[in-house]
Symmetry: C2
Subunit: 129 residues, 2 copies
DNA sequence: CTTGACCCTCCAGTTGCTGGAGGCCCTACC
DNA sequence: GGTAGGGCCTCCAGCAACTGGAGGGTCAAG
């Protein structure tokens, strides 16, 4: 299966698939004309990668997850640990963004938003702790 | 004021300040020995930048904000528009992360997290739509 | 006069792609 | 048989916003 087909099968852009090969996440064969040739297992890996990325795992974590998936003697504990770590960082990001949202909302509310130059937002950025 | 002092005054790392100069956000004088020399207004600008970054504005938006701050004939409407745009994108990010959190949480709950290889997380990544 | 803390510039790397240039290959149509 | 269009290839550059390090000048204290 060539890369265009692999792309439609997995939803990953062609460029992204090439990039994943470059960093060693997938290693397709080559046809005689030099075209990449993906087999079913590699397509499955790419789908797995696409899902893992959607779940917020970094490419490095994806690499580990792929290795775990390929290892029949894995412990689900290890997978879970990775996922929990990811969850923690997602929650941290949410908390930070919510704090940001609150601060921004306050500033915006205080700004008249008219033609005058006085602006609570600029004042806030200038004088805040 | 040299860059080390500017750093402690603003909380910005030295490297970051140099970077901000490189991209034209601040333009300190130079002393005879080649050292950067920041005046009070430039320190204020750096503080402003630090705050604006904390509020989630991109460096490009910061550039615009600085220009607005320097312009006495500005309209607060323009500042507010920028801030509102920023708020929208913050809220989008929060929504995306919350969706992620929900999906991750479900997967993690279904994984035993023991020594067996069976893992709902890996299954979810393999078979999910 | 040396030690250590500054400062300087320039280059490379981070994350995860994305876009483009320049060029081969393959199929279809005239 | 020639050509037009796609698709494929590699390699290089760039995005955001820094960060780290090499290699070297400067400065104040003891």
């Amino acid at each position: 299966m060539n890369i265009g087909h692999a792309s439609t099968q997995t939803g990953l852009p062609v460029k992204t698939i090439r990039y994943y090969e470059e960093i060693g996440l997938v290693a397709p064969d080559r046809a005689e004309n030099g075209y990449r040739d993906f087999d079913a297992a590699q397509i499955a890996d790419l789908r797995f990668l696409a899902q893992a990325r959607l779940m917020g795992f970094s490419l490095d974590e994806c690499r580990t997850l792929l290795a775990l998936e390929a290892d029949p003697s894995r412990h689900s504990r290890d997978v879970r640990a990775l996922a929990e770590q990811n969850l923690v960082s997602v929650r941290e990001k949410i908390a930070n963004l919510q704090a940001l949202e609150a601060r921004l909302t306050v500033l915006i509310e205080q700004c008249h938003g008219d033609e005058a130059p006085d602006c609570a937002i600029l004042d806030g950025l200038s004088h805040e702790a």
